[in-house]
């Protein structure tokens, strides 16, 4: 406090040198949400190790990731959506619809490559629809628009497949989910690459900076010469694309396609983003936090599965975690204020 006062005094007497570099501050370094997530991750893993003897080795820990990779694939693009201050709850339906399309294209052509391309294309089109509606009608909230498309996309999938399931995919397709390099599942490699790419995109490029700007104020972004609609459409389309990838991964894991897969996934995906510290009102947060949050929620679910907790219990625990995640930054602020008042 005394230090701040000194700095202010210097500027008040008219010197106009502005500092362009600030040094390392241990307070700033340790007051990062990511440390909290690291603690949670350690706690969750201690809990898991104590509840299963098969878990406490590299193989166990790496294998467990397969449990949540399908969700993790969509988390990073979803982080961009929340960064904009928007939300997309149609992702699980896009996963189901693109898997369904893949299934029927495979059935019709017998060619898995064409089927996969069709699935990816479906995802892109779904995302493009979401993005275009939101760009065209900025007064509509993304919550309502994607709630509607969620129902529509799922509905189309159900009309196409009804209660049928499609299987009999080539064996290499099953390998997408089960294959490994050494001990590391393919899916995990993909997600790590994704994390690196999206961190680069958000924190180092113009596109990322503009996205963050839009999350703070669309008006300011517009007046600053940012093509806000273009960015919005791109982000929603990318979410669609990665939802399709997740749909393909899920089909590989289950070695079949049904129209009711991935129900409720959007909640876990959004929970991971929010726990990661991306502000729900947009404009704040980091990919590092999001990456850690995937592991926290993913391993927590896995661990609760180990002790045979029911899915209701799991939902309650994840819900509590979320409330803590949203409340702690506020708590920190009010604690800070109390200190200042004294």
């Amino acid at each position: 406090m005394a230090k701040d006062f000194e700095r202010q005094a210097v500027s008040a007497d008219g010197t106009r040198t502005i500092i362009a570099n600030r040094g390392f501050s241990s307070k700033r370094f340790f007051l990062q949400w990511e440390w909290m997530l690291v603690l949670m991750l350690v706690a969750v893993n201690i809990f898991n190790i104590s509840s299963s003897s098969n878990y406490a080795n590299a193989r166990g820990i790496l294998n467990a990731t397969r449990d949540f990779i399908d969700k993790a694939i969509v988390v990073f693009p979803m982080a961009f959506v929340l960064m904009l201050g928007e939300i997309d709850i149609s992702v699980a339906s896009i996963m189901a619809l693109s898997a369904t399309i893949m299934g029927i294209v495979f059935e019709a052509t017998g060619n898995m490559f064409i089927a996969i391309i069709a699935a990816l294309l479906t995802g892109v089109i779904c995302g493009l629809i979401n993005g275009s509606i939101l760009a065209k009608f900025p007064e509509l909230s993304s919550m309502i628009v994607t709630l509607s498309t969620q129902i529509i996309f799922r509905g189309i999938a159900q009309i196409i497949l009804e209660t049928r399931s499609i299987g009999g995919f080539p064996s290499w397709f099953g390998n997408i989910a089960s294959g490994k390099v050494g001990l590391v599942p393919y899916g995990l490699i993909f997600v790590v690459a994704e994390a690196v790419f999206f961190a680069y995109l958000l924190h180092m490029t113009k596109f990322g900076r503009r996205t963050i700007a839009m999350g703070n104020s669309v008006t300011v972004a517009k007046y600053s010469g940012i093509k806000t609609n273009k960015i919005k459409v791109i982000i929603f389309t990318v979410v669609g694309l990665f939802s399709a990838i997740a749909g393909i991964y899920l089909s590989s894991k289950m070695s079949s396609v049904r129209s009711d897969v991935a129900r409720g996934y959007e909640l876990d995906i959004i929970a991971m983003v929010v726990l990661g510290g991306i502000s729900t009102s947009g404009g704040r947060g980091r990919i590092l936090g999001t990456s850690l949050a995937i592991l926290v929620i993913g391993y927590l679910r896995y661990g609760l599965g180990l002790i045979n907790a029911t899915s209701q219990i799991i939902m309650i625990v994840v819900g509590l975690l979320l409330i803590i995640a949203v409340a702690i930054p506020n708590l920190k602020n009010s604690l800070g204020q109390i200190k200042i008042l004294k």
Partner: protein
């Protein structure tokens, strides 16, 4: 009882690291309009918050109607008949006029339900008492800024306030609307209420107040009778230094045509607007609020596209679809609403300055953050921003300094034409002079400068050419500004 209804003595308020008020005095007589003046950051806002019970002073005493009081909270102050009307209204835009007036002290029927008939009737009477015929059932959002202000005043009176604080009420009003506000304010005074009037406009003070108190750097400078001080004396009291020539206009030889707007129209906003701007020229665009001034230039910038008409830059026809097109062509726009349109308040100054020009720092798709910070620092220093570092949050700066940050941001683009929309609105005298200096410097460097302004003195002081708009059309263009008078401009702006 003393002659004062309200007296504040030796008020000190300390925030962590800053003395926001340092031994400040103030006194208000019954039936007096007392002007409170000072630069932004002089402590006026904190002072109001002390009077209205938002802040509790660390030292000093408040004497209300002869009795020493301590306001526990804003409600307490309100119950003791003090009301404030803020610069940025505190009204609910979706509610009706009546609902806004009576919110918090609704009238009830015998069955404890809301008595709308009574409230509408009383609202109507209150408004009529203020000389206004606003419909109490109208939705707030559909009223003009001036009308909303009248509703704010009605709301204050409805709580039986007899000490009314007005925080820059004229900032967003047109000339005619100001006149109406003056009448209302005088009427309140004649009814025996006391008014504290805060404004950056000298005209407000001369028209209304009998006494003026000046704050500077959180300190009390003095109280004078309005007619005991000259304009220059008052400015030097506020700024603490002499500002000799507030309009530092340089003689610039005008060059070739740089921007030509031809027949620009947008239904419902403006019609058939044409003008020409030359290198080194400062074109002032003035007129009443609502005459379509800002809208025309939002059209030029591609923010709200015009229906028809053409824009030429150096003789070449432009096809502007969005702001980026305009900026690429070399036209920059300083928006009117700094906080909503110009700055990301939560960001540091550095990020704000470079937001429109990230290309400059991008190498192989990666932003060079070091180069970005250094460049932001240079730009901020060039426009004399008062700040500690490029990490300072934009929200922590005063209005004038925020404006300088936006100037730095706009100037970082490679521009030939700069459009400034009300660049000195709500900016203090010292920063105003600096903004004029920057404008003048731009013209000298060969930029074409367009200044949209409602303030007559700066229009007359800075412009080479004055374009007056009236009801969406160009009413008159004065090419030779040497002999133009305020009256001539007003005549062109109003229906006479």
């Amino acid at each position: 009882m003393s002659e004062y209804v309200l007296e504040l003595k030796n008020i000190t308020k300390i925030f962590p690291g800053v003395k926001a008020l340092d031994d400040v005095h103030f006194s208000l007589k019954k039936g007096e309009i007392h002007a409170l003046m000072g630069e932004n950051g002089a402590g006026k806002s904190t002072f109001i918050k002390v009077i209205t019970g938002v802040h509790i002073p660390d030292e000093g005493e408040i004497i209300l109607r002869g009795e020493k009081v301590v306001f526990k909270d804003p409600r307490d102050a309100q119950q003791k008949s003090i009301a404030a009307i803020y610069q940025h209204g505190t009204l609910y835009q979706h509610l009706t006029v009546t609902e806004n007036i009576f919110i918090g002290h609704e009238k009830l029927t015998t069955f404890k339900t809301l008595d709308w008939t009574k409230m509408h009737k009383e609202a109507k009477e209150l408004l009529r008492g203020l000389g206004s015929d606003i419909d109490p059932k109208a939705t707030m959002g559909n009223l003009t800024v001036a009308e909303q202000q009248v509703v704010e005043i009605a709301k204050a009176i409805s709580t039986n306030a007899d000490i009314i604080i007005m925080d820059e009420p004229t900032a967003a009003l047109s000339k005619r609307e100001c006149e109406e506000l003056y009448t209302i304010t005088q009427r309140l005074r004649d009814e025996g209420r006391s008014i504290i009037f805060i404004s950056h406009r000298f005209e407000d003070m001369y028209r209304l107040a009998t006494r003026v108190t000046v704050f500077r750097d959180s300190k009390y400078i003095g109280t004078w009778g309005v007619n005991d001080l000259t304009n220059d004396q008052l400015i030097s009291k506020m700024v603490g230094r002499e500002i000799k020539d507030i309009y530092p206009k340089q003689e610039v030889k005008q060059g070739a045509e740089i921007l030509r707007v031809d027949g620009l129209s947008k239904t419902g906003y403006y019609k058939d607007v044409s003008f020409t701007l030359h290198k080194g020229e400062i074109l002032a665009v003035t007129g009443l609020v609502g005459a379509g001034r800002s809208e025309v230039f939002q059209g030029v910038m591609g923010i709200e596209k015009p229906d028809s008409g053409q824009v030429f830059l150096e003789g070449k026809k432009l096809d502007i679809k969005n702001v980026q097109d305009a900026m690429n062509a070399g036209i920059g726009y300083l928006p009117e609403d700094r906080q909503r349109q110009g700055l990301i308040l939560d960001w540091g100054l550095g990020y704000n300055v470079t937001l429109s020009t990230l290309e400059k720092y991008t190498k192989a798709t990666i932003i060079d953050k070091r180069a970005e910070r250094v460049s932001a620092k240079d730009l901020l220093e060039e426009v004399k921003t008062k700040a500690l570092s490029v990490y300072d949050k934009a929200s922590s700066l005063s209005g004038g300094n925020q404006q300088k940050v936006i100037v730095a941001k706009v100037l970082n683009s490679d521009l030939r034409v700069v459009i400034l929309d009300e660049p000195t609105k709500g900016v203090d005298v010292g920063a105003k002079a600096q903004i004029y200096e920057i404008m003048s410097g731009l013209a000298a460097k060969g930029y074409g400068v367009i200044m949209i302004s409602s303030e007559m003195p700066e229009v007359l002081g800075m412009a080479d050419t004055i374009l007056v708009m009236k009801e969406g059309r160009v009413s008159k263009i004065f090419n030779d500004c040497k002999n133009v008078t305020q009256e001539q401009i007003l005549e062109a702006a109003m229906n006479i």
